[in-house]
Amino acid sequence: MITIKDLKASIETEEGHKEILRGINLQINAGEVHAIMGPNGSGKSTLASVLTGREGYNVTGGSVEFEGKDLLELEPEERAQEGIFLAFQYPVEIPGVSNTNFLKTAINEIRKSKGMEPMSSVEFLKTMKEKAKLIGLDPSMTSRYVNVGFSGGEKKRNEIFQLAMLNPKFSILDETDSGLDIDALRDVAEGVNKLRTKDNAFLVITHYQRLLNYIVPDFVHVMFEGRIVKSGGKELALHLEEEGYDWITEVKESTVA
């Protein structure tokens, strides 16, 4: 589904160019869940930003192919229309824009890009009710302004609700567990599990292993200083949890040596 080859990206800082991604290689197929773990500052969120087209990042090398298309050529909205979704680490509050109008506009823009007619109001409301129930989102939240006055848990749940509504092919969950207590974490993870199919794929970015108890990945990758330094099965996450990230430094040094 998505093939990332030797992806390099940098940001502009006051001290000049700073390279954050230093050659990422990753292949994710339909039906798979991949997790990326790593210490703070290893480039996990930058990878999410570069894949979704956030401004402020310069891609300096490599390629990303999504379903045969050069992803890096596309505008953020075009990527979404192709089926890419980002559940934000810090969902943005948008006063004055209701969740309902926002989602209806998004769904219909995506449909328009595929040459489809807009969704009827009846169908939209029905879908919204269904998905809210599936995710366990209080239906009254849908009429409120996007994320305004939502608790941390409600914001994250709203991200997963949007994921359910937009039904993307490839979803990136950027630290969806951060700021959640254990109950909220379990609820959100259950929501994600209900959305897994053989046709879609997930990239779960997390600092801690605990989310992966609930969303069980097929592959775990460890990121450090802008590279994937180790890949393995779900047991790699447990290993990290026990050993901590110091261990990575050693892995990296031994790899270099």
């Binding site: 956030r54 505008e75 909205e77 979404a80 948008i94 004055g96 926002f102 506009t105 823009e109």
Partner: protein, 445 residues
Amino acid sequence: MDKISQENTDLKMKLIEDFNNFEASLNGQSNEEIHNVRRDAIAYINENGFPTKKFEEWKYTNPANILKNDYVQAFTVPEKDLSGIDVSEVLAESNANVLVFVNGRYEISLSRIVSKGEGIFVGNFAEAYKSHKQLIDEHFSGLAKNEKGAFTAMNTAFANDGAVVFAADNVQIPEIIRIINIADARTGTYLSQPRNIFITGVNAKAMISEEFFTVGENPSLTNMVTEVYCGEGSMLEHYKIQNDGANALHVGSTQIRQAADSHYSNTTISWGGKIIRNNLQAEFAGNNTECHFFGLYLLSGKQHVDNHTLADHAMPNCYSNELYKGIIADKATGVFNGRIMVRPDAQKTNAYQSNKCILLSEDAMNYSKPQLEIFADDVKCSHGATTGQLSDEEMFYLRSRGIPENDARAILLQAFAEDVIDTVKDEYLREKLDKKLIEILKRTR
């Protein structure tokens, strides 16, 4: 006092000549009481001339740019051509009073009055002067005094038509009154000077909308004055919607006096016109009044809109609240000058003011000036001004859900503007304004 420029002198001479012609055309009416008021006004202009940009009040809006065209006063031109003037969209609001003025003159054939009966007058100035002479004599220029400035005095000197709304004590006018001012700029370069008087009696209620449109491409200047008298315990909703054309100029002065326990709310929406100067001044002459000023200016090209407001707290326990929002693109300029005066007797005053702007280009400007003068010690007053750009984070969030950049921008700007549009209580009008807002935002970059 600044030295009066040569152009100013020429303009003065021309106005005096116009006034003499105007007076001659009045025949017997020149002996009326209100004509003495007009004479005082032309004398005031003769003595004081017009302000220049050196005046603090006109620092950001140069009066010379408003006065420089060689205008012909619309009243001097007897012929009129109403073909091509279409007010069907306004008349489509079935239960609305519609008063149409073309270049400041009432057009009965385009108008429709639905509110009639005991204690109600909705009509034009000339009609009111016949049926309610005493009322007009008592209120004409009671608030819009010459000291308010030369533009106000100029309007007074030539005041001969406009809209009059009167709701007697305990009378509620259920239907909205829409006053449609059309600048016909198809053939000449005209100066129109409509004069409105709105009076609500004790516990009376009304809703009035002043709306401005232009046909044709010539420059035009509308110099209007509206005097608003709110009786005790009365409620008045007042809107000003500025839809004028690209070469239309507007100077408007709205003077309000609120008696005790009255409620007045004004919403001014400016999105059409080349140069606009709105003066909106309310004086609280009794206890427990409530006053709201809402404004929205949505500007592009080289448009220039200047809102000057005054909340004059002369009595205790009054509440005033102002919210002005601007969306400014290209090389357009917004000005907000909000003056709050709290006089020594005005204890327990609550006065709030806020000006928020979004600038969409490097060259867009907004000058925001709060001006609080507080002479009482037990008051709550606050002001705030913010100017910024659209949030990159919000834009990215919307785009990451598949919404194209232009639509995402329009959604955010609409959300920003919506709380001002929402203050318009007439549903039909509000829906039209919403539609217009979206239409403008879709082409705003």
